[in-house]
Symmetry: C2
Subunit: 282 residues, 2 copies
């Protein structure tokens, strides 16, 4: 029987560190880190996420300002705000909430964010540095996943890691981070042949497919670490890619959904904000 | 018995296309594509490479200007030249010959190249776009390798591809390009356990290790495509990673060294220069 990787508890540790970090800087008379969130329109998921991020920021003693634009606003107003935030000394991190309404050119708007404040790791410069193995902001979901894996205490070096899914925001960056930690990394996707066999050899299996219950115990090696990044709403309930109960029995460690990867991502965004702050006030 | 992938013949096809492209543009009264090469100091390998690139450019009817600085020149003089080349209308591509002498900050100098003229794909912006799967300049060696693989006519989709080596200039980008072509990709390196077994499952095996004769037939699956990126000088002769004769017998296709990957890279640089030209004169 494997152990559950408790995302909430792991997030709690990071949150305490962030809280102390903010408190310390405040008490030294410097200031607290500040996150600016830019949001356009009223997408339900976005509204929920932004509200949570703001609440968490404030709970941890960080400053958070939301710039909320009407969906009919012009692209240039959004860009003007970004440009202003880029130069504002009191703003450490800028998060552009995605998706933007259809008429907006996302790539163009993102390209206007200074890479020094790009705490979500969306700009080309940041992505370039990320894949070159240089100092940069690591996108929140992959960063959180690595913390969950590291929390097991298992040495990643030389391990056989398999990532199912090759998206720009999860599959590819998590493969890169596992490679940085000296795992042998295989990236699988919808065109992969013999997926089950490949997965069943993995010491570390990261599932980012988006098909509820797709990964059952047959995909899992005895004693593996299984990370479930899938989040699909089924009958009003959040479902992962992994059949959790049976996979947990076979694996050494597995993340639940909810309470696994999703529980750490926003915390990682605030951790990145603190890292941006450190460079900004230096 | 496998077939030899004849890098020289494949390069020849691309060279003819480049030649015709330059001729056509010249005869239309536009102009020919122009490559600017910036070089500092007198490194032997660099001198050789730059001389060859210039010669090949001119043979194909492209314009090529070399900006050769003394090793004692200031960083700012090099940067000033790059800035000038960035805005010069008649210059399509800028190649910064590496390595630079020790006192130079390579990253800083490279960051000054406009990503629109970065035909070697060295800037952060270009790398970011590359790994995001967007339009960009594909670095010459990985680009050449893909052309060699495609020359076999074998469909890459769903194939099991293994890349040995995880450098920023070969291993990581070739893994990305194979993934873009829907291969299932495994990246191996010095910390990989059971390397031989992993390689022996590969339909496409790319070796970028730098150890002469490291990959023998035991690493190779019957009927595989084997690409040898290794180039080590042994007793004045260029040696690849692969024991060519025995691997060729087992594989379906294999590249020799010399005459394989090395034979196409400079041609790819000039192909990128033509692509830059097309955007530049549009």
């Amino acid at each position: 029987m494997g152990k559950i990787i408790e995302g909430k508890l792991i997030a709690e540790v990071f949150r305490n560190n962030i809280k102390n970090f903010a408190k310390e800087n405040y008490s030294k008379g410097i200031r607290v880190p500040k996150l600016a969130i830019v949001m356009v329109g009223d997408d339900g998921g976005s509204t929920f996420y932004v509200r949570n991020a703001k609440k968490l920021s404030e709970n941890l003693g960080l400053d958070c300002e939301v710039f909320h634009f009407d969906k009919d606003t012009s692209e240039e107003s959004v860009v003007d705000t970004i440009k202003e935030l880029n130069i504002r000394k009191d703003v450490d991190g800028i998060m552009m909430q995605l998706p933007l309404p259809d008429k907006f050119n996302e790539k163009y708007i993102i390209s206007k964010i200074s890479h020094k404040k790009d705490i979500d790791g969306l700009t080309d410069v940041n992505i370039g540095r990320f894949y070159s193995g240089e100092k940069c902001f690591i996108p929140c979901t992959p960063k959180g996943i690595m913390e969950l894996i590291k929390s097991t205490g298992v040495d990643i070096t030389g391990k056989n890691a398999v990532v199912v899914g090759r998206s720009n925001i999860v599959g590819k960056p998590i493969a890169q981070l596992l490679l940085d930690e000296h795992a042998t990394v295989t990236i699988c996707h919808s065109k992969t042949e013999n997926l089950m066999r490949i997965c069943s050899r993995a010491d570390i299996l990261v599932c980012a497919v988006g098909k509820p219950g797709f990964i059952n115990e047959d995909f899992v090696k005895e004693g593996a670490i299984v990370i479930d990044v899938g989040t699909t709403m089924v009958d009003g309930k959040l479902k992962g890619d992994v059949v959790f109960e049976e996979v947990l029995k076979k694996s050494a460690f597995a993340t639940p959904v909810p309470g696994g990867v999703g529980a750490v991502t926003t915390t990682m965004l605030l951790k990145n904000t603190c890292e941006a702050f450190e460079k900004n006030v230096r």
